[in-house]
Point group: C2
Chain length 197, copies 2
């Protein structure tokens, strides 16, 4: 899975990853060759074969621009626990890879909401954060949901007590809301993204 690459192979993989993120499509064999000054398509194919054999990419046969990068090549390495003394660069600490689509999953029934106010600050959701919400009418006890209360959208935790439902803030300054007939659950918060300038 994480077999070492030769410097040349690293270069080629890096070029492919850059192409994908800039042009939003994988390069063709000839585009790769042109970039490195290769005059033969066979050369590029050999490199792709080597990279595929080492698990850094997958290729669909006979298809144009069909290089698919593995997580190790296109994801951000997630470092879990740092053993005291070991450098952050060390590979052993890599717990997995965060793929862009994982952070902001694409789907038809997903939208994002910019959070206003501090009613959920106790749960780590603060003013300006973007919450990503899957549209659904139902939710379970403990889910963080977006609810429409009198036409206003709010982010709260859902609590059930018997047949009663509550929208609970995570900030002592605010009080739980009891769900009335006009309260509608718009969706469930599946992810939070915050960007710093």
């Amino acid at each position: 899975m994480a077999q070492p690459l030769t410097p040349k192979q690293k270069e080629v993989l890096r070029f492919i990853a850059c192409s994908v993120s800039v042009q939003k499509m994988s390069p063709t064999i000839r585009e790769i060759g042109r970039h490195f000054g290769f005059s033969s398509t066979g050369t590029v194919r050999d490199h792709l074969r080597a990279l595929a054999a080492k698990g850094y990419l997958a290729r669909a046969r006979k298809k144009a621009r069909a290089i698919e990068l593995a997580d190790a090549a296109c994801g951000i390495p997630i470092i879990g626990r740092i053993a005291a003394g070991s450098p952050l660069e060390a590979n052993e600490n890599i717990e997995g890879f965060l793929r862009p689509e994982e952070a902001a999953p694409l789907a038809d029934d997903v939208f994002a909401l910019r959070v206003q106010g501090d009613s959920m600050s106790g749960a780590g959701i603060v003013d300006g954060d973007i919450v990503i919400v899957r549209r659904q009418k139902q939710a379970r006890q403990g889910d963080i949901v977006v609810a429409l209360v009198g036409g206003e959208a709010t982010v709260k935790t859902l609590r059930k007590q018997g047949s009663r439902m509550w929208l609970v803030p995570h900030n002592k300054k605010y009080r739980p809301l009891s769900c009335s007939g006009s309260t509608v659950i718009a969706g469930k918060v599946i992810s939070v993204v915050r960007r710093y300038v």
Copy 2:
């Protein structure tokens, strides 16, 4: 920019977006045609032309699988402020689009770190969160940084007082650390991602 689409055009755009996210490459004209049962490539081309004219995608000429989705087609709509009474589905509330790469930017000098502990809970960074870090040795006053203190990585806010530098937690349970010679700044936190099960 946000011109309305006909139902058929929506279908086509949706199919392309799905293909891109599943197969990680845009479909060919013939793949689109096959999916919809079109027997002519010209039909698909007409649809692509219409979608391009309305700003939902861009196409590179003569290139295979070269459909590039615009933000409106591949990003998650960010809803900023909800006017009381207006439904969440309304288009007027869309403030922008969150693209996957924006949430988890791809670059050579970026890594992610799973946060342990609650020392930054006051800043909305809680246990289990993933912080995305740009590798850099320097940082400015107020930046949230990852620092190596005695071989351990910690996330703190950087404060400067004269020539003195402090690593300040956001939780009253912990005390600021004065930066000593062995303290190294590993990078700056540029984004935080949290996923709920």
